[in-house]
């Protein structure tokens, strides 16, 4: 029992560790600056990571784009110089495996689980200063929600929510 508790304690000590992909982790929500952002350029969200470590970045990017366009609050542009702000960072998912007898890794098998990855920053196109930042929050999966949808929806929901707040404060100040 003592040994099991030691192992359990060591396992818990790993819970606080997570990857940052070299992206600053400071939380920023500059609402006045966000209120003036209308056009956004979305960079490659693989962030140069090995495709086995961060998968599905293109899918997440497309989903974020789709959600932001649907909202009508932002327009998505194809060139950074046309944008008020650029969404940068890393987003996607990572596979992980469990089980004992089967071989896993690389191609893996259906016996695969997914964890979301998301560390994003909305940068002012001219000053490169951060306007808004987001870090993916792990949590319970909806049984029918894919990991791509979960990562993208979280980014879109939080960005649109912050934009709505920024707009309402901006209107109240005028």
């Amino acid at each position: 029992m003592l040994r099991a508790m030691v192992v359990f304690a060591l396992c818990l000590s790993l819970l606080g560790c997570h990857r940052t992909f070299g992206i600053p982790t400071d939380l920023v929500q500059d609402l006045p600056a966000l209120a003036s952002v209308r056009s956004v350029y979305i960079e490659d969200l693989a962030h140069g990571e090995d495709p086995h470590l961060v998968e599905g970045s293109d899918l997440v990017k497309e989903k974020i784009k789709e959600r932001l366009v649907q909202s009508g609050r932002f327009t998505i542009v194809d060139a950074p110089e046309e944008a008020d702000a650029a969404l940068t960072g890393v987003a996607g998912f990572q596979r992980w495996y469990f089980g004992m007898e089967s071989f896993y890794g690389l191609e893996g098998s259906l016996n695969t689980q997914y964890s979301g990855i998301g560390m994003l920053r909305l940068l002012n196109s001219k000053t490169k200063e951060p306007i808004w930042t987001h870090e993916y929050e792990t949590g319970f999966f909806h049984p029918t929600q894919s990991v791509v949808d979960r990562v993208a929806d979280q980014v879109a929901d939080k960005l649109l929510s912050a934009a709505t707040l920024a707009d309402s404060k901006n209107q109240a100040g005028q």
Partner: protein, 350 residues
């Protein structure tokens, strides 16, 4: 007194096994922790978990658990007449530590897994096993997998020595197995896997005549219905050559030819809910040429079915539920032997 000494000896062995398991787990976790903390961009990852099993046969539990295409289906067990020791609850902890190494020659993943079986009421059966693996992807369609597996000092149970019911001794085995598997995707739907395995099993002193050299080959054919379902067919042929074949006077030649056939279905029922169903048939033909050997003209049939559900609860947590049922019959014993294992477990990715 003799019984007490025997029990003490078994407890010592069990403690040794538990210490090995705990030490392995602690070492792996300790190794993983600073890597994560100091260099977050390295490609190390660690997964740990545990399952709690109910088993109705202590002596057959580990053999049933390891019976699969990539497992160790020829793991020795007691003769059918000596199994049926009883029920137990078994805790199965495991840790997997892996590292991905990309290179110009493709992707390579190295991993270590440590697993334990910790028995609640029969601790002398507790045991550990270690898997060292290297997986290299030459292309996305061709992957080579190498594995070294060892299960040291595994207690099988009390066994007759020299065929005498009055002389029962603990039988223990240490297995060292090397496996190579080449996977090649032939088309969108078809994949072929070629497996080869060789190894040795060393028994404890009173049973050294059962030391076995073994080799195995076999193909697997995988049909991918789509990204969410696949069917796996496999056949293995294994030859085991026991030392007892050279010592005719012991009447204990455990050499065998082993046939293993398997069919399995894996399917994603929902986005995060997966089902696996497997059915295996094993046939052991004992090859002793000594008419006085109990196994002369002997064979064994084993049928095994298993089902597993896994549900990913969060980004880092999955829950599992598993049922296994095996049926063994040797033609030189009149009894059938059944083993049912049921488990619930949780896995966490660090």
């Amino acid at each position: 007194m003799l019984h007490f000494l025997s029990t003490l000896g078994r407890r010592k062995n069990s403690l040794f096994g538990l210490k090995s398991i705990a030490a392995g787990l602690v070492l792996l976790l300790s190794a993983a922790s600073p890597v994560f903390a100091a260099a977050p961009n390295t490609s190390w990852s660690a997964t740990g978990g545990g399952s709690l099993f109910y088993t109705d046969d202590v002596a057959l539990f580990s053999a049933t658990r390891r019976s699969s295409l990539d497992g160790d289906p020829s793991q020795p067990v007691l003769d059918v007449s000596r199994t049926g020791i009883g029920k137990d609850m078994v805790f199965e902890p495991y840790v997997r530590l892996s590292r991905l190494i990309p290179s110009s020659l493709g992707e390579t993943e190295l991993s270590v897994r440590v697993r334990g079986f910790i028995y609640a009421t029969n601790p002398e059966f507790s045991q550990g096993s270690i898997y060292l693996e290297a997986i290299h992807g030459f292309t996305p369609h061709t992957v080579l997998r190498l594995r070294y597996f060892t299960a040291p000092d595994q207690l099988l149970g009390l066994t007759e020595l020299h065929g005498s019911e009055d002389n029962l001794q603990d039988m223990r085995v240490t297995s060292h197995l090397g496996t190579v598997r080449l996977d090649h995707r032939l088309s969108e739907h078809w994949e072929i896997q070629l497996l080869g395995r060789a190894g040795i099993r060393n028994f404890n002193e009173p049973f050294v005549q059962r030391d076995t050299l073994l080799w195995r080959i076999g193909p697997h054919l995988v049909y991918h219905l789509n990204h969410h379902a696949r069917v796996i067919l496999g056949y293995h042929y294994e030859r085991g050559l026991a030392e007892g074949r050279h010592e005719v006077e012991l009447h204990d030649d455990a050499s065998y030819v082993h046939h293993f056939a398997s069919i399995g279905i894996e399917a994603d029922l929902m986005e995060h809910l997966e089902l696996e169903l497997d059915f295996h048939y094993e046939r052991n033909n004992f090859t002793s040429g000594n008419p006085e050997d109990e196994r002369f003209n002997g064979h064994e049939n084993i049928f095994l079915g298993s089902g597993r559900l896994s549900y990913q609860l969060t980004d880092h947590t999955a829950l599992t539920f598993m049922v296994q049922r095996s049926n063994r019959k040797q033609n030189f014993h009149q009894t059938h032997d059944h083993n049912t294992n049921v488990s619930m477990g949780a896995v966490y990715r660090f």
